[in-house]
């Protein structure tokens, strides 16, 4: 079985740890299973599978590749910080500007997310309840890169770690009620291709107050046990 732990740590502006919570992650949601389905079934670009992105829009998704390299960003979670550009291969050659337009995204839209929504998690959640936007304005947190640590095994267990820092330079306190993970799904169609984030996990925190100038570190430790 695969499970995950969610670790939330709050640091002051001098990087002193002032609060730590460690809880089981309860909530890999349907879109994780759907992205695994698309991958296992080798869904083709000609008969795509429809998923709902984090904006509530239906999107055709496939697992077709193209050429010798077959690059495809489906299930991508690792990402650079904030507004940094991410190239998200969609399974087709990038011949011109119009193809390149389909493979852009921002780091903040991929990987671990935080929000202020406290509504109960359901398997059909398609997004954070109320996502906290990247930035330094009121109610915003600055998203660092979503990084992965090395994968490790010791029979009967294996694990890897995903984590992201959120810096509060908003001028006021922000209470994080929910943490989740957004992963990429993509479509390699010539005309309608593109890439979009999908919510694959969402957990409630019970509320963790991040004061102005503080740092929140959100960590998912993904584990399997035989």
């Amino acid at each position: 079985m695969l499970t995950a732990r969610l670790i939330l740590e709050r640091f002051d502006k001098d990087n002193r740890l002032i609060e730590k919570r460690d809880q089981p992650s309860r909530s890999f949601v349907s879109q994780f299973i759907e992205l695994l389905y698309v991958a296992h079934a080798q869904i083709t670009v000609f008969a795509p599978y429809v998923m709902t992105d984090v904006g509530g829009n239906p999107r055709d998704i496939d697992s077709s590749g193209d050429g010798d390299r077959e690059y495809k960003a489906n299930l991508m979670v690792g990402s650079p910080p904030g507004n940094s550009q991410v190239i998200t291969p969609i399974g087709r050659d990038l011949d011109d500007r119009f193809d390149w337009d389909k493979v852009h995204n921002e780091g903040q839209n991929i990987g671990i997310q935080v929000g202020t929504g406290a509504g109960a998690v359901t398997p059909t959640d398609i997004a954070m309840g109320t996502r906290i936007v990247h930035g330094s304005g009121m109610g915003e947190l600055e998203y660092g890169g979503c990084e992965f640590l090395s994968i490790a095994f010791a029979d009967p267990n294996g694990q890897f770690t995903i984590r992201r820092y959120f810096t509060n330079n908003s001028g006021g306190g922000i209470t994080v009620e929910e943490v989740g993970i957004y992963a990429i799904g993509s479509h390699g169609d010539v005309a309608a291709g593109g890439n979009w984030p999908f919510c694959i996990a969402r957990d409630l925190t019970g509320g963790i107050a991040v004061l102005d100038t503080e740092l929140l570190r959100a960590t998912y430790v993904v584990q399997i046990t035989v």
Binding site: E34, Y37, A41, S63, I151, F153, G158, V226
Partner: protein
């Protein structure tokens, strides 16, 4: 003389509320269901659904490769079903398991080994070969892998991977182990990796003339 494979994969829609939830909240795993039918379609044995115990390390490694988007110029090594470490990267093929009829390198694979699974298992212990020209003693006719689309109920999301195995070998065959082989890829080369291995307690006998259907159902519970 030609031989025709008569196994045909067929998925039936099961109302979600009738599906047993076998996973604990927060778990991502799979269930296994085993159904044996005679030549008239009558069920002669039915096990499960039951918990699949055993994602192997290759499952986590492929997930890590794809989620982190390991690039072609910084490959990661994963042990394939031939016991060779293969350097691979992210790709459109990661996790693919849509095997056709008679393919024994991909999809659900059965065997007669009964050694308990470990996280480091990379291949079925004793694979049962495909019976291309029946009757071949100890061989089963592998059907094509079929898929059931994802569905969710109040707590659980799931999809289904199905394969039929017809026994026209001339004798009974006992299936003790089941695995899932999937693809990984790097520039023009496809490799095969085992992501799940389960041992069936006591084995499951498939009499001559009967067909075993295996349903693997990957799922997530909240």
């Amino acid at each position: 003389m030609t031989h025709e494979i008569k196994a045909k994969s067929a998925l039936k829609v099961i109302e979600p509320e009738k599906v047993k939830t076998l996973l604990m909240p927060g778990e991502v795993g799979a269930t296994i269901e085993l159904i044996v039918k005679d030549k008239n379609g009558k069920i002669t044995d039915h096990r499960g659904p039951m918990r699949s115990r055993s994602f192997t390390r290759q499952f986590l490694e492929l997930l890590w490769i794809q989620a982190l988007q390991i690039p072609e110029n910084s490959l990661y090594q994963v042990r394939d079903t031939g016991n060779v470490l293969r350097a691979i990267c992210e790709s459109a093929k990661t996790f693919t398991c849509d095997a056709g009829i008679g393919v024994v390198t991909l999809g659900i694979i059965v065997g007669t080994g009964n050694t308990a699974p470990t996280i480091d298992d990379y291949v079925i212990e004793t694979p049962i070969p495909h019976d291309a020209v029946p009757p071949t003693a100890g061989a089963l006719q592998y059907g094509a892998v079929a898929f059931g689309a994802p569905a969710s109920d109040a707590t659980t999301s799931r999809f289904t991977i199905t394969r039929d195995f017809s026994n026209n070998s001339g004798g009974a065959i006992t299936v003790n182990e089941i695995g899932l082989y999937v693809e990984g890829y790097v520039y023009n080369i496809t490799y095969y990796f085992m992501t799940i291995r389960d041992v069936i307690g006591g084995g499951l006998a498939v009499p001559n003339g009967q067909t075993l259907t295996i349903n693997y159902q990957p799922q997530a519970a909240i």
